[in-house]
Point group: D3
Chain length 328, copies 6
């Protein structure tokens, strides 16, 4: 029996039971997309967004590209995780240092509760893409900290607790374009300002759905078997990138050590809303909600870089799935 | 109050009122695509085509790629701008000079009435793509003139009157492939044979829907506020180009001076017929019909490089839209 | 009157009559795709597969990419060519030489009966893609032979009889990526071990639907007019490759000599299942069934690198189509 | 006997007799380079420059890249064509139109006398490289005219007389980088402002020293056999471009018609000053001096994009060389 | 009068007076190269190396590529900075963590004295190039610390004192190939383990000798006018990269603020040993020795990625040179 | 003691003793280049050529690019291997099959005696580069056989005896450009017409002088320790390819099994004639002469793709060198 650690009771998380006759480890919400591209009148697309439990309902930080195609972050709230109200104005981060606080663009946020507050990480421009870090306690004011790394980096995801007394982050060093490579690394920090002790975690796998690059997805979920990491992997077809989602288990105290890693994808782009849009063939998970007692998991993912969709799974089944056909 | 200059009364232009509850400056025809890909039995696709008012109805020059994927130009006629009859044989251009008259391929035509005849411009092969020029008075015989420029060039669009006594053309210098750059220039000619006094008009815009390249669309519409130019802009996603449409206002006597330019796109590929086809994610406007007294505008655009579609707008609203969030 | 040579009576081949009012030389099965992507619970996609008549019904070798996106070959059986049962385990090839028998990946199989057995050819990894060769008599055990060529090669297709006493194969030399070039060659062998006398057959055609590369499709069909070859051709749009199907006639005794070759494609990606999927815009024929007395032809093709579809035609009409607008 | 037309008596042109035992059509000056890279204290390199007879001695327009590597044009004077004094300040072109007169960079000039003045053409930045045009009568003040073409263009070379009453220019349409293609075109103008009637002259030749691109060199020399054009051609080795010089004969009244074109290069980079420098392996001719009565020819060429060198030849021998192994 | 801060008296630094008649700010050693490519019998090349004053003579860390072309670091000693003895065995770094201590390759070292020891930084492989850090007190044993950053990074250069109480480093984020871009950043660390507060310093300059990329060179020299930084800049010719050296002045307390930056290069590849070698056309400074009382400066630089050369200058003249034609 | 097998007594091979004080395994001829680029008046360059002992003196097949840069093969003779007479006309190969006999270009020949005649292999165009094969007994008439493989291939080198009763060849599958990859394979043939049983021999080595590609050089020399193979390896610097020479030992009966392979290059481009020329930085060995009793070896190699040079070595020392720092 797998134990889920440090997660809340979340009986009201959005949920649909597995369809009859379907034995796959994850299944789509039948009313996807859960957030359409123009929920904001000014938006071109809303996707790759992060959701957490907040004051009995849900809050989140959303990637909303407007119709000039500027990439920005907006706050949103929902009573049930399905119907969302997104603030029309983008988030204004407070920063003590104008050099850091000058916002050029931001995208692909993650949100995580550590100790006493929510931390937001996102892909933040600073002479190129790198990892922006901020915190909030109320989703109204946000305090921006130092960027975690030098450019170029993307998909910075904090662990939900300190590990060996240090903040811990996964990230994916990149270049400044549509990076055709990408491996996941682990870094730690005593203070969210200085980062070091970088460790290689895992890279692409030849002849697989993730042979071009991989990057961390939602905040990892701690289990008695290790950290359950949902991540994206990319395959390059002759007509471009195909983004799918997969799972891995990382050691609880040395998360750069991979315990298991599923040879199979968890979800690949197969529906019209995943295959057709601004970037065809993209499934990109960024957040999950977990109800600890039941192990139910609602995973938010961007579809075709255009809309936000939901899939469901059970933590225990994902752990089994990860170990059953592991590459390790 | 904006005045529309030098446009006809065109009460019978194709038209649908704006859908209830839609506040956007342009809206799609509900029965799109207006021309399907195989309207000609021999055609693979019909798109990026030009339409004008002609003898109480409408005529046009159409890009029809046949099933060998040869790019050719065909004449078409319609009583209402919606139901079209396209001549099965491609246009045969008459030319006094065999060097110029040898037709290899032609695509993306525009048609404009100047003084006493219709002029056709198109992307014409002469050791590479350049701007072909011809005229017709009856859409039966076409007289080809000199190519306007040396290769490599695309999207040559004539203004509908001489400016300062000279013919005036917008164009987009290119290379000989799927050009990953492109800016709009203005050139003039005393005689449609010799061209000069080239001026830079406008280029791509960073972090926007048009950061890769821009090119002129339909023939500009003269208003008291300046020339209203509808144009296409291209963004490069990791899975290829995304072509959207936008608007700009150019000075009436010095059209290389940009008065306003909308930060937001007017229309981006979002419907299935715009997102799925021979080239996914393309909206490419090439012609418009304007009813001067009411300011109604019917804009023909190619969708997914496969079919021809229509959108509608009001000139005055487009001018306002252009100025409201202007980049200038 | 065209005579079909060396083909069987196959009255029970899958078939639908041409739709009323449709004059095109090939038409799609109305219930396409005939094999859906997840017919095997473990499969991501099933496409580019080969089917033959077998013991009163049909058998085949199928490309089944599993959900790790590993490319493998599976056996399948069907009573009618429409409803298929695919063996859940991939084919295990027996090989006397471990160097050759080590299976890394295999895809795009063809199957052909020669003399007394079925031969399978496929794109087989050996330090890069090359042509794997094996035989079976029962679709249960498969004996693998030497790879036909050095890497890099793809689309190896055997002729259904020896020519001038030698085994004969078409293939397409490649590189080790998403090869942006490709021409068809002819090679022969006394023993299926040593290959030589390589001859160039045909290449891409400028300004056409196949200007980037061409490769052989199903096993050629011998007629009194020559070998009828259905093949794929690729055009590169600014958003990637477009794979269409076309036809050619090759000399019966010197198949490297092209008698006729249609300027027009036979089928291009136009339906949703051809335009949307893991690789958008792909029609890729790999096998055909022919009923010699009636000339009816059922052609299996991969669609969007995701599913398997069927189209129908008459051999005699295809020969006429090939000769009518021939490039030769 | 070949007649040289419209060239001056120039008994004092720089000259060295052909070395004994050397039968090649052109030979190098024994004291090359004739202009070293730092003749100006501020220069990084002086090369690809144009020289004419002027007031009993010689004058020229020189490409001098300074030590910021800015490309500029300087005037120079010499009594003998060998010892040069170069003005330390770059040329300031006068222009009536600030849009045109704003100098960003200029390089690879040519100078030619037509009617009553010297015309200078060069590669001029105007939102990309294009052909700048100016005139001078004294090499002190220069009047800049309109750029001849839209970007992107290089190697614009005027003919030394009007042809059929029009100014005539060769040029090489380009892209905005280190263009990996290039063909020579002919264009004409009634007034040096408007240009048209563009004709293709010649392109690269497969499997030759000029298989990548070709561009015009010095001002063509009119002979009774046609215009003698010395031009550069480029081959791409696995370690970059190799620039050599060759010859062609163009029709006197229809210079876009090639009469003869030598299969062999005239000079390729073989000496240290041609093979070693800022761009290794470059021979790039830009100007020639001709003594009509004797047919002696002094050809100035840039070497390794670093220094200026001289070679010598006889016009009659070059015409013979061009015709002897002609590609036409 | 410029004051040189925190530098030693170094009367015995290698030195040659400026040649008569030469007014340029830096001049080459007349006996260059000072270290030939095969000073070690096993070396292919010795270049891009770092030298410091040590125990009355000089010591250094040298990039010695051996004849397998493996890039390694060796210690060397010299009594006069000209005649060097290089240890035949590469440096063995001690490391407490095997993950970090596994040496794959190292190149382009810098050495600097801070407080009580010498620190070495170099380009160190850890799943890609990044910045290795170690210290020594005797050039016999070296203690390796954590890599400073995630891959990919190059040209990490420590400042010779803590700034605002923190270690300070310049570096150039890169990709994993022959990076065609590169900007200099500033980062700081409390402990040489954790790094943060990354600041952008400066990037390439259009239309200049450094339009492709820039990277820090020797350890900066503190003066009353600011930190004197000698750096390399790269221009891309059609035949590859050209590496030159230039100078900048950085603010003493906020070194990410550029006070002045010379528009002109200080030295570009012009001699045979700079233009011919394993990588033609490279001047790459990595170290300097300064005699504070006289301001004499001996700058070691790699030439053509093959040998080590020396140039000389005066600090005060370099500061003047930097400010005189500053880009700022 | 190493035994040299099947090699002749060749006391008159060209030879110079090792220079005093030089301990390297190979040393250059002091009068290099042994064949200058214009030994033929019509040649641009003579390099990558093959030499054998013939009738008491020496004969060879030479790559002579003429001044049109056409690549051709010429016969040459020499009494001492140093002074050469090259036939001015290229070799005319006799072929029974016009398809094969049509000569487009040929380069990089090797010559080997097997049984009763000399065989020539070279890079031969047949719709791309592949391996041409011919034989001669007198260096006057040459009989061309089938090309060994499909395109694309280069550097085909026959073993000097049949192995296990079959002809045996090394080759390097390629693409159709300046191939950025390349591995050596082994193939065999019963008859020089049909080839098969392809085996992978060896590929590039990371972080080495041969990390981009490797290809066989001279005909292998059989020793009691295995076949001594001298081969070229390529490293890609930021300024292009660097070709060096190295050595390997292959199993005598299973030559695809590598016994030893030197980690270090044998010779890299370091002299001016190796570093400067049509392709800078190339050492490319194609032939060797061996005096069996003494083990002396004269190795001919192309330098800078421009001239032919010689180096000397002892077989025994090369075998030791290969084994001493072997990668195996």
């Amino acid at each position: 029996m797998i134990e889920i650690l440090n997660e809340q009771n979340l009986p009201n998380l959005p949920w649909e039971d597995r369809p009859a006759g379907d034995s796959r480890p994850a299944w789509r919400y039948s009313r996807n997309p859960v957030i359409r591209r123009d929920l904001l009148p000014t938006s071109n697309s809303i996707f790759n967004s992060a959701v957490v439990s907040f004051r009995g309902g849900f809050a989140g930080v959303f990637r909303c590209d407007d119709t000039s195609r500027k990439m920005q972050l907006h706050t949103g709230f929902s009573p049930d995780g399905l119907a969302w109200t997104i603030c029309p104005d983008p988030i204004q981060f407070n920063s003590e240092d104008a050099e850091i606080g000058r916002f050029v663009y931001g995208y692909d946020p993650r949100v995580v509760w550590i100790d006493d507050r929510f931390y937001v990480t996102w892909c933040n421009w600073y002479h190129g893409p790198t990892i922006g870090v901020a915190w909030t306690q109320d989703f109204e004011t946000y305090q921006q900290l130092e960027n975690a790394f030098l450019p170029f980096n993307r998909n910075g995801v904090l662990f939900p607790r300190k590990i060996a007394g240090k903040f811990a982050m996964l990230s994916r060093p990149s270049d400044n374009g549509h990076t055709p490579f990408g491996e996941i690394y682990y870094s730690e920090s005593p203070d969210l300002c200085y980062w070091g002790r970088h460790r290689h975690v895992m890279g692409p796998v030849d002849n697989s759905w993730m042979y071009t690059k991989v990057g961390a997805g939602p905040v990892p979920i701690e289990t008695s078997e290790g950290w359950l990491l949902i991540y994206h992997g990319v395959l390059t077809s002759c007509n471009g990138y195909v983004y799918s989602a997969g799972t891995a288990l990382l050691d609880r105290e040395k998360p750069w050590q991979v315990i298991a890693r599923s040879r199979h994808y968890l979800l690949s782009p197969q529906t019209v809303y995943e295959c057709v849009g601004d970037v065809p063939n993209v499934v990109f998970p960024c957040a999950s909600l977990c109800d600890a007692p039941t192990g139910r998991l609602a995973i938010y993912y961007g579809a075709a870089d255009t809309v936000t969709a939901l899939m469901f799974a059970y933590v225990e089944e994902l752990v089994d799935f990860t170990k059953k056909h592991s590459l390790i």
